[in-house]
Symmetry: C2
């Protein structure tokens, strides 16, 4: 078992990475002992893995319920969230209760947000079962739901007490979702550690083949990078924005297509190529670095171009992004492989990038 | 203008109390300068007072919208909250935006919760226009909405940046709502300051007649007491519970009648008598103190008895209270006038109190 610490003073917590943790994880059992525990999962992950957690908690938790949500980004709204509240209130769960989020990023975001606002905040544990959630959304305390006018527009910063990553769960993950996770892994290298980026590129075949050792190594290093950024900027006042490399463009793609059409990691894949292209246009990086990123994204099995929409459509979609300030988005760009900067960009360059990177 | 500080380290904020502050309040204008500002109000308070705030913000805020919600506790749910999110997103409000909550406790709780979760948290200002909101709900950062199974079950701790109390707004407040505010004022004396309790009792006629000087004095002292408690226990880990004197019984009354049937302060009035009765049964206070509280509640124009329901109905309603732990409510009791303690109570005594204080 590998342990990575997220240092946030009194809100610090460990990330535990290993095989078989769903069935045997002492820190989880200590946290759950004597408490009301709700496992929140979805109808894809629940049937595969909920029983392992339920068995582990048997006789440890004071009481236990399992709440199964409909799968998918399209269900990441208030209506689904209410199912959690209804179940917690019907079971008379109090402020001492614990939520365990078992599933991908959507389940983690929703269960985490439910924990953030149920009776003004209760404890929760992240048990991410997709590669993307393991290296990204489960760490850092961002929780939330979508609004018809924007992704993750309603949410809270609410740190988990523990993140438990059982790499066994990746064995059932579809190849497309493995690739989506690799997008965030490549991102961590691109923004913070060129050597790690190169290592991931070298390991891409093994990672796509769900090689346990290669995955554990990448998950641990990605969690370290994310934890380090989050520790220095919990509430996204500045530095944390670099984690959004590829996301301003990516969110526009997701919003324009309708959530769930492309996987989040796929949109981020194309978005990173666009952000690299823009960095290049602004003279921040060489064309070779832009090309290196495009190749890595392609080799990870991800799209390298956005949908073929009018430039104005992208501009419009980006202006509602949370990172926009009074309608003007800031971009996370690279000034070298392994180093990110946050900048506004001239409209003409943004438009040139959109034309170049959207097959238009 | 009287100023009371709420000391919460980097989340500290001032409460400003005075006449005419809606039209002229320099600290509000400084906070709003150059920002997108949303005034959130309701269809009773908005027509009376929104224009004053709008005029004051004219030329100061970068942009301004007013969101008018339907009045009343019955509307304190997700459906109403969504109107705020829709308006903010349609106006492209970003993370730098500011919400100004103009109204009673319901508006403050909802606008504050919207601010807590819009794009994972934006700034907000409380401008309470009812006596109850001025001395209670606007201070301390509790925000939230109701669920069919319980009041304020979904919410967040989110501190305002400023509380602005314009005592002129009390001139239009119905007598019944003045009395409801006096319930919380009496509560502050009962739990923390016997001298203040006696002063309030002496001033009751002036307070009920909306005498400006008497009101400003009481509002300031009540805010001081509440601020002091909140400063020492922001997230209700322990001490803050004493502010719920009268509320365990009171919430049961509100939940059982349906929200909005009795005013919150009315339920707290009867609830305080019940809590005093229980304190007396447990030998914590003399019968004379219990009687003093009952008389004060009556003189404030508040009910001194709960609805005539079966004892079991009350027990059931109290078991879902947020302060309940695994189904057993704790009670805030008095061990002297001006001094509160939090205790579990034997079921037989609780039942005796319910029989004695509900006209059953």
């Amino acid at each position: 078992m590998i342990q990575v610490e997220v240092a946030l003073a009194e809100r610090s917590y460990p990330i535990l990475i290993g095989q078989g943790l769903l069935s045997a994880c002492e820190p989880l059992l200590r946290l759950a002992a004597g408490r009301m525990v709700a496992i929140v999962t979805d109808d894809q992950v629940g049937p595969l893995y909920a029983a392992r957690l339920e068995a582990a908690l048997q006789g440890v938790a004071a009481s236990r319920i399992t709440v199964t949500l409909p799968h998918g980004e399209a269900n990441k709204g208030w209506g689904t969230l209410e199912r959690i509240f209804d179940a917690l209130l019907e079971a008379r769960f109090d402020r001492g209760a614990l939520i365990v989020a078992l599933g991908g990023g959507v389940v983690g975001d929703m269960a985490g947000f439910a924990a953030a606002v149920y009776q003004r905040g209760i404890d929760f544990v992240q048990v991410p079962t997709t590669l993307l959630a393991q290296v990204d959304s489960s760490v850092g305390g961002k929780t939330g739901i979508n609004h018809p006018l924007g992704k993750n527009m309603i949410g809270a910063f609410h740190q988990p007490r523990l993140v438990l990553i059982d790499t066994d769960t990746l064995s059932t993950l579809p190849a497309r979702e493995v690739s989506a996770g690799l997008a965030e892994i490549l991102k961590h290298g691109a923004i913070a550690d060129a050597g790690y980026f190169e290592q991931v590129v070298n390991d891409l075949a093994a990672l796509r083949a769900v090689d346990a050792a290669a995955l554990a190594r990448a998950i641990a290093r990605s969690c370290e990078i994310k934890a380090s950024v989050v520790s220095r900027d919990e509430r996204e006042g500045g530095l944390r924005a670099i984690l959004n490399f590829g996301h301003t463009f990516g969110h526009a793609i997701e919003a324009g297509l309708g959530y769930g059409e492309w996987l989040h990691g796929e949109a981020v894949g194309a978005g990173m190529v666009m952000a690299a292209d823009l960095s290049c246009r602004l003279g921040l990086i060489e064309g070779a670095v832009r090309k290196r990123i495009e190749q890595a994204v392609a080799e990870a099995g991800l799209p390298v171009e956005g949908p073929r929409w009018a430039v104005q459509r992208y501009i419009e979609l980006m202006s509602v992004d949370k990172k926009a300030e009074q309608g003007t988005p800031k971009f996370v760009l690279l000034d070298a492989l392994g180093s990110a900067v946050v900048k506004r960009a001239p409209q003409a360059d943004v438009e040139a990038t959109l034309r170049a990177c959207t097959g238009a």
